[in-house]
Structures are given as structure tokens and as C-alpha cells.
């Protein structure tokens, strides 16, 4: 599992946010487009791409895209 690919998959869920804003250190919940509905898309992406279950607390307790990457990686 690669970080770059994960960031790409993460960014693909967004429609309006510029691709350049997505890095490992992006605090994704501070993005203007972030919403509780966007969280569902990220959970769906993790299920589809990695067959990994992200729960509500994982979203609530993580800050950066890298935080989520580490969570998904640890469950593969």
C-alpha cells in the first residue's frame, strides 16, 4: 500500500477542492468541502479500494490524511 496512491484515492472523492491541496499533512477536516457526507465517501473508498473498515471514531480521532493512511495500512 502506497501513500501517494492513498492520497490520490482520497482526493478523488472531492469535486471542488484543488488537487494540489491534498498532501500527507493536509488537515482534511479543515478543507472547505469537508462534510459529514464526505466522510461517508472516504469510508466507502477505503472499503472499495482496500477492503478496510474505517469507523466513525477513526475519522473523529484523526487529523491528517497521513493519520488515516496509517490506520488503513495497519488493517490490511
Amino acid at each position: 500500500m502506497e501513500l501517494d496512491k492513498f492520497i490520490q484515492n482520497f482526493a478523488a472523492q472531492f469535486e471542488e477542492t484543488e488537487a494540489s491541496l491534498f498532501t500527507a499533512d493536509t488537515k482534511y477536516k479543515e478543507l472547505a468541502e469537508w462534510s459529514s457526507l464526505m466522510a461517508l465517501s472516504i469510508i466507502g473508498m477505503s472499503d472499495e479500494e482496500y477492503d478496510v473498515k474505517i469507523k466513525g471514531d477513526d475519522i473523529r480521532n484523526s487529523q491528517t490524511i497521513n493519520d488515516l493512511y496509517e490506520i488503513v495500512k495497519s488493517r490490511i
Partner: protein, 352 residues
């Protein structure tokens, strides 16, 4: 391994009843952009709301009375009544006892309440079919009454629950018929996440107190008391996109069901975004997957039979059909069933 194959049972009829009062989500008091996004995602434009004098048992009673009338059967042939709900009339006694009398059923009647939500119709069906088959002719006809009035315990100031849930009560009539192939089930449970969908106070773990009545604000648009429904949408989503398709696939594999030959896949109406994910994951054509969520919302345990009555009625009353239904949610609890219907009795949707 909770697989069941239950022969000698057929579905004879289905009916559904909803309150008259329509609540339009376009009137939900949050800002317009967020409201439109919410409606598009959950797929609920409007839902039915019961008034203070109407309980789930009233909706189920009306659905059952009409079904019995249209089936033209004698009430004393009904040897079993199961009521599945999380909104009973009282803490005790069991509402199924009240319904036995109210429907004028025989005193020689087996009655049982089951406390399950979104998986409730599938679980209730597995229980009632098992009893009919075990009865070997002594349980001639059996009534499965399933429904909820979730609007009674959702906070109007909670955007994660109030716009989503609608009220409905349904009735399904089963009959003992020897030699019939019957129904196939897969059933499952994961209580680790029991607090994903929960009402915290008012039971015996956290007894009702004055604290229970204090409304707390959790985030913008989410305020409720501990006597109202709390729903962790992210956990529900994460659970359902994996377990619902898995359950359907397990059922198909276990009983070697020809997936292509199944006419309809009826899913619990959780929310449209989630249901579409489940549908695409299972690679099902939209025509095979009816939805009632747009006009009735998430109707908890009633959603599968309500969807069949509102979306498939013309076909149910005139054709032979193969179905797979899948319920998933509060518990967490989930299950799938394969069954066939042929020209069943199905009254038009009833209004209370």
C-alpha cells in the same frame, strides 16, 4: 453458522399502513444549501409521521385487518402472531398479546414480541417460518406484524435522524403448505457496536431520570436528549457497505441460488447513498432494486414489506416472482432471505 432452510411455508399476502400526515424535508429548518445536499444524499424527500394518538400497533392492526379481509380467511385459522418492533405500546405487557385480542384471534394462539429494528422483518420471518414448519400443520396460518414509529423518539433538532426516519406498520401472512421448498436465510449479529444506533436512557441500564430530559447540543444541527435516538452515521455506513452485500452473497453461495434468476432484491431503506453503494457493489441493475425511501424515508423494520407493497404491488398480485431481501442495522443485526411469491394478496397502501 446461522443459515436456515425452512420448507413447507409460503407467503400468502402482504400489506402496509402509513400515517396520513406527510412531513416534507424541503421545509426542514436548516440553510438551503445544506438541506438540498442532505436530501440528495439520504434520498428522503418526504415521510409519514404518526400523531400522538397513533402507535406502531395501530398501523399494524389496520394493515393486518385489511389483509385478513382480502385473504378471506377465518380468523381462527391464525395460530400464531409475531410483532416485531422497537416502539411497543408499553414496556409491559407484550404488544402481541394486545394485538391478538384486538384482531379477534383465537385464544389458542402463539404470540411473541421481538425487539429488532432494520433487520427485524428478516429475523421475524425466520422465526415465524421455523414455528410454522415445526408445528407440522398445527400452525396453519401465521401473522408477522412488523413496524416502527421512530419519529416518536427522534429530535427535530437532530439533522442526522429527524429528516431520515418515517413511520409505518406492515403485515405479512404465512401459511403451512406441505411440499413447498420454502424460504432460505442467512442471519448474523455483531453486538460490539451496539451503541452505533441507541437510545441511552429509559431502559434499565440507564434508568429514566430528570437528567434524561436535558437537551444537549453535540454539534451544529445536532441537539437531543438521552431519551432520543442517537445514530452514528459513519459507523452505520461502514458496517452496512461491507455486511449487507456479504450477507446476500453468503445466502446465494450457501443455497446455490441463480443470482440472475432473482427478480427483485429488496433492501432495508437505510439511506439512498448507502443503498446505492450496496447495489453497485453487488452489481445489480437498478430495475431489480426497488426503493421507497424517497416518499417514505427510512421506515426501520417496516422498510422491506413497505417497499414491496408500494413499489411491486402490481407484479406481486399477478406474477410468480423470486426475491432476495436484506435487512441491516441497529444491534448490530443483519440478515438475508430468499423466497418466492405467486399471485399473493396485496392490498393497496393503507392510510391510517
Amino acid at each position: 453458522m446461522a443459515y436456515l432452510s425452512i420448507p413447507n411455508v409460503v407467503v400468502r399476502g402482504m400489506s402496509a399502513c402509513v400515517p396520513q400526515l406527510i412531513d416534507e424535508n424541503k421545509n426542514y429548518p436548516i440553510d438551503e444549501a445544506n438541506r438540498n445536499k442532505l436530501i440528495t444524499t439520504i434520498g428522503v424527500e418526504r415521510k409519514r409521521i404518526s400523531d400522538n394518538n397513533t402507535c406502531t400497533s395501530d398501523l399494524c392492526f389496520k394493515a393486518a385487518a385489511k389483509l385478513i379481509e382480502d385473504l378471506n380467511i377465518q380468523k381462527d385459522e391464525i395460530d400464531c402472531l409475531i410483532f416485531v418492533t422497537q416502539t411497543p405500546d408499553y414496556i409491559l405487557p407484550a404488544t402481541s398479546c394486545i394485538l391478538q385480542h384486538r384482531l379477534g384471534l383465537s385464544k389458542e394462539c402463539f404470540t411473541l414480541d421481538i425487539s429488532l429494528g432494520c433487520s427485524g422483518w428478516v429475523y421475524g420471518l425466520s422465526t415465524i417460518c421455523s414455528l410454522i414448519n415445526s408445528g407440522a400443520g398445527n400452525f396453519r396460518k401465521a401473522l408477522l406484524l412488523v413496524g416502527d414509529t421512530i419519529s416518536k423518539f427522534t429530535s427535530k433538532e437532530d439533522k442526522s435522524t429527524w429528516p431520515l426516519f418515517g413511520d409505518s406498520g406492515t403485515a405479512t401472512m404465512l401459511e403451512y403448505v406441505t411440499g413447498n421448498a420454502g424460504l432460505y436465510f442467512h442471519l448474523a449479529t455483531d453486538g460490539e457496536d451496539f451503541d452505533t444506533i441507541i437510545i441511552n436512557d429509559g431502559g434499565f441500564r440507564n434508568e429514566y431520570s430528570t437528567e434524561s430530559l436535558i437537551k444537549k447540543k453535540y454539534e451544529e444541527g445536532i441537539s437531543r436528549t438521552n431519551l432520543q435516538l442517537e445514530l452514528d452515521g459513519m459507523n452505520v455506513f461502514s458496517f452496512a457497505i461491507s455486511k449487507a452485500p456479504q450477507s446476500v452473497n453468503k445466502l446465494i453461495e450457501k443455497y446455490k441460488i441463480d443470482k440472475e434468476s432473482v427478480d427483485y432484491f429488496i433492501f432495508h431503506q437505510a439511506n439512498l447513498f448507502l443503498n446505492e453503494k450496496i447495489r453497485t457493489k453487488l452489481k445489480l441493475e437498478p430495475e431489480k432494486v426497488p426503493n421507497s425511501i424517497k416518499n417514505f424515508g427510512n421506515t426501520s423494520s417496516a422498510s422491506i414489506p413497505l417497499t414491496m407493497v408500494t413499489e411491486l404491488r402490481e407484479k406481486l398480485i399477478s406474477q410468480k416472482l423470486k426475491h432476495i431481501a436484506c435487512g441491516f442495522g441497529v444491534g448490530l443485526s443483519w440478515g438475508s432471505v430468499y423466497f418466492e411469491t405467486e399471485n399473493i394478496i396485496c392490498p393497496k397502501l393503507i392510510e391510517y
